[in-house]
């Protein structure tokens, strides 16, 4: 008996791939946005050296930076429903986990950027009578955010690659579509290069964008220095 199997890629598969791409971009962009905001807030908490809170942030950051995203995904997707009232679906679990993961890395970038602002500027601001909040808002943050942009762009590019892991908990992302197509066609040398190429092109576009932004920031900073 011959089992019918469609081993060719067809036009319909283009739509399948596009659908997968949509999921990848959706999870990636939401979790990047959420992670950056969360990380930003946590970094400020840590920088303010509020007792207990600052230490908790540090522990949180170290745990999530030093464990595999895959295990984090399993913990949230399989673990959470059994010990809490939340039972996230694959996409929710993916967005939640990647948001936290991104936040942990953002804290590190942001704290480094805050520390890069010379201490003299805090002292100068204090001498003018500016409060901690005012100094942070008008003096330190504008500089720190500029410093933190390039590493954050790099993080965004690497998180796009890492997001392929969400396919393992069942999100129908680009990689998952790749697996479906591979299982159907059994053509590894056709399917994986196509899927890989799509990631490659997006990553390339992002790095060109990152380089352009970095150049613009640098131009602005030099302009300041020249004027000073």
């Amino acid at each position: 008996m011959k089992i019918y199997q469609n081993t060719e890629l067809t036009l319909a598969d283009v739509f399948l791939i596009l659908r997968g791409l949509q999921w990848t971009m959706f999870v990636w962009s939401t979790s990047m946005a959420g992670g950056i905001v969360l990380g930003f807030v946590l970094a400020l908490l840590r920088h303010a050296r509020i007792p207990v809170v600052a230490q908790l942030v540090t522990v949180f950051v170290e745990i999530f930076r030093n464990s595999p995203l895959l295990v984090q995904l399993f913990l949230v997707f399989y673990g959470l429903p059994l010990v809490s009232p939340f039972s996230p679906g694959p996409a929710e679990a993916a967005i939640f986990t990647m948001t936290i993961n991104t936040a942990a890395f953002t804290v590190v970038n942001m704290v480094a950027a805050l520390d890069a602002v010379p201490r003299g500027q805090w002292q100068a601001s204090n001498s003018f009578g500016l409060s901690y909040m005012q100094t942070m808002r008008y003096v330190v943050l504008p500089q720190a955010i500029r410093t933190a942009i390039p590493p954050t762009m790099n993080l965004a590019i690497s998180q796009l690659q890492t997001s392929s892991l969400i396919s393992i908990i069942g999100v129908a992302d680009l990689t998952r579509v790749g697996i479906q197509l591979y299982v159907r066609t059994l053509k590894p040398f056709l399917v994986w290069p196509i899927i890989g190429l799509i990631y490659f092109v997006i990553a390339k576009i992002l790095s060109i964008l990152a380089a352009r932004i970095e150049r613009r920031i640098r131009a602005k900073v030099t302009w300041f220095e020249d004027a000073a």
Binding site: N66, S67, P68, V71, V83, P188, A203
Partner: protein, 228 residues
């Protein structure tokens, strides 16, 4: 509901076996990525155009596509051209080749900081190109590259978890098995998360010890009078 570690701890031997395999894979992958990384870095700055192009394409491809896709490509692709694949060795090779791309960039920027005069001095004594690299360029470049390389090694350790997707029973793989068996996913993955943290801290510590042993003496340090 309720968190209970008993049934998971009862299978700690199984987790330990997984940890052993993870460490084995990590060591293999780190060594491979280090050696291949050096070779690719040397190709990248070679005077031979073909080698330069090869290295550039290699680095670009591996760095801009997800590791999961690379792994699937190798694991499912090789049997298609008549090379049977075995999960563990495939995992080590894929991790090593992928990590090498990042390491190559780190090592290359290390090499570029090596003082041109030192290369001249070595050349002037009739040392061959291989000897110049071995005795002068690489020891100096690796000192500068060592800390970023250490971060890359930690990252590689975390990435080993992904080889569980091609049926390797490493720490993550065995964790999934225990989770299915005991139906305690939260407890299992939480413990595994912490084990990974411990492993990465150990790797960082080893990296620091190696730095202290081999590289610390050559950095600027105050003169201790009266000591030969």
């Amino acid at each position: 509901m309720g968190i209970n570690f008993n049934s998971v701890l009862a299978r700690s031997d199984y987790l330990l076996a997984g940890l052993q395999l993870t460490i084995f894979i990590a060591i293999g992958a780190i060594l491979l990525s280090f050696v291949v990384g050096i070779l690719i870095a040397i190709c990248r700055i070679s005077r031979i155009r073909a080698l330069r192009i090869f290295a550039t394409v290699y680095i670009d491809l591996f760095r801009n596509t997800p590791f999961l896709i690379q792994l699937y490509f190798i694991y499912f692709g090789l049997p298609d051209i008549g090379i049977p694949t075995e999960p563990i060795s495939t995992g080590i090779i894929a991790l090593g080749l992928s990590g090498a791309a990042g390491n190559a960039e780190i090592i290359r920027s290390g090499i570029e900081t090596v003082n041109k005069g030192i290369v001249d001095a070595t050349r002037s004594f009739a040392l061959s190109t291989v000897q110049i690299y071995r005795f002068a360029i690489l020891p100096i470049a690796l000192r500068i590259a060592w800390r970023p390389l250490g971060n890359a090694f930690v990252n590689l350790v975390l990435t080993t978890s992904i080889v569980s997707t091609i049926t390797v029973n490493d720490l993550t793989g065995n964790a999934s098995n225990i989770s299915a068996e005991t139906f305690k996913p939260f407890e299992v993955f939480l413990i595994v998360l912490l084990i990974y943290c411990a492993v990465t801290f150990a790797v960082s510590a080893i990296v620091n010890v190696i730095y202290a042993l081999f590289f610390a003496r050559t950095t600027e340090r105050p003169l201790i009078r009266g000591q030969a």
